[in-house]
Symmetry: C2
């Protein structure tokens, strides 16, 4: 059975691959699972038919027979559980890889998202410029630790895992800010993720849809 | 084997149960797993011995024989995978419950945490009062959806699950703000969580350590 995911009809990032469907595409490519995409306008995301499968009216979703999933983290985990290649088989290592999935989404992504809020949604506010250094320093506080932990390793814990897939995806959101370049080992880690053939295929697939004409 | 978790020597919330060890204590109580606690001062959280098990120098952690885990979400998931009571057995329902775990931590918690940032860490900034309504409106944007989805149901998807445990825990952070009371069904949902005997035991255990003398 070929699963169907949802994605932006046209991503607001213009093909940079930062919309969350890229994370799911990447996981599908890593495990070699073909998939179909249903594209949604912003209006259709908030329509009852879509809210029935995604309570928050967002993308991506994942449909496979009777199963309807939302939340990128859980879709990536679902794929990782059912296919080889995204989670180690050894129980302790598997549990640690899952820790990194949650770390990417609950420890690193919140301060990273705050930068988007500050730079885009609050760009016109009187405090925008003055507040930005605080937001960036909160990102640096977690990246200092992540960089120290990663050291010279290729991936977070042994072989590439779903934890790396999500962490690289979250860190990619920082590229435009320049913050990533303050951490050469994290910049190299992200580049290592992007160099994976599965990432390249996922990126190309979303780029074909979202790039400016 | 009795697992050991870590917790604040003295929680900054003074016993309100908002520190993340309460979430892990609650999961342990739900599955009937006895546990021990190692208490850490803020200084010891950033010491090399603790950073070796928690790369971000936080609590809680979970140690069980050879296994060392960090990240609340993954600790709760680890317990839910190995014990009955926190995840349904039917595969589709189990995957959906995991979606709700990620939704609590990656969709609801980031805007909720932003309120703590605004009210505590940026309380002395010139923009503090003016910015607060924006932060609250971003919380309302996700709570509007969550409330509409939950409707009159007791729990998010059938029986109580690890998704509810994390969602209730995240929503508890909003009680002081009054925002939760704008959504009677969500306030009742949170109260339903707090009324569970396992939550009461978890709360009491942290309160005994953290309450003002």
């Amino acid at each position: 059975m070929i699963p169907t995911i949802t994605a932006f009809e046209r991503s607001p990032d213009g093909g940079k691959g930062l919309a969350r469907d890229t994370r799911v595409r990447w996981a599908l490519e890593e495990v070699g699972q073909p998939y179909e995409v249903r594209f949604l306008s912003s209006a259709r995301m908030k329509a009852p038919e879509h809210l029935a499968i995604h309570p928050f009216g967002q993308i991506p979703t994942y449909e496979e027979g009777s199963l309807c999933l939302f939340e990128t983290g859980s879709i990536v985990f679902h794929l990782a559980e059912r296919h080889a290649g995204l989670l180690p088989a050894e129980p302790d290592a598997r549990a640690r890889a899952i820790s990194w999935m949650f770390a990417a989404l609950n420890t690193i992504e919140p301060p990273v998202l705050d930068l988007t809020t500050a730079r885009i949604f609050e760009a016109d506010k009187p405090w925008a410029q003055q507040r930005l250094p605080l937001v960036k320093d909160r990102i640096r506080a977690v990246l200092d630790r992540l960089s120290a932990y990663l050291g010279a390793a290729d991936w977070l814990d042994g072989a590439f895992s779903a934890g790396d897939l999500l962490m690289v995806s979250v860190l990619l959101r920082l590229r435009m800010s320049g913050i990533l370049d303050e951490y050469p080992n994290l910049a190299a880690y992200v580049a290592r993720g992007e160099a994976r053939p599965a990432y390249a295929r996922a990126f190309a697939a979303q780029f074909a849809v979202n790039a400016p004409a």
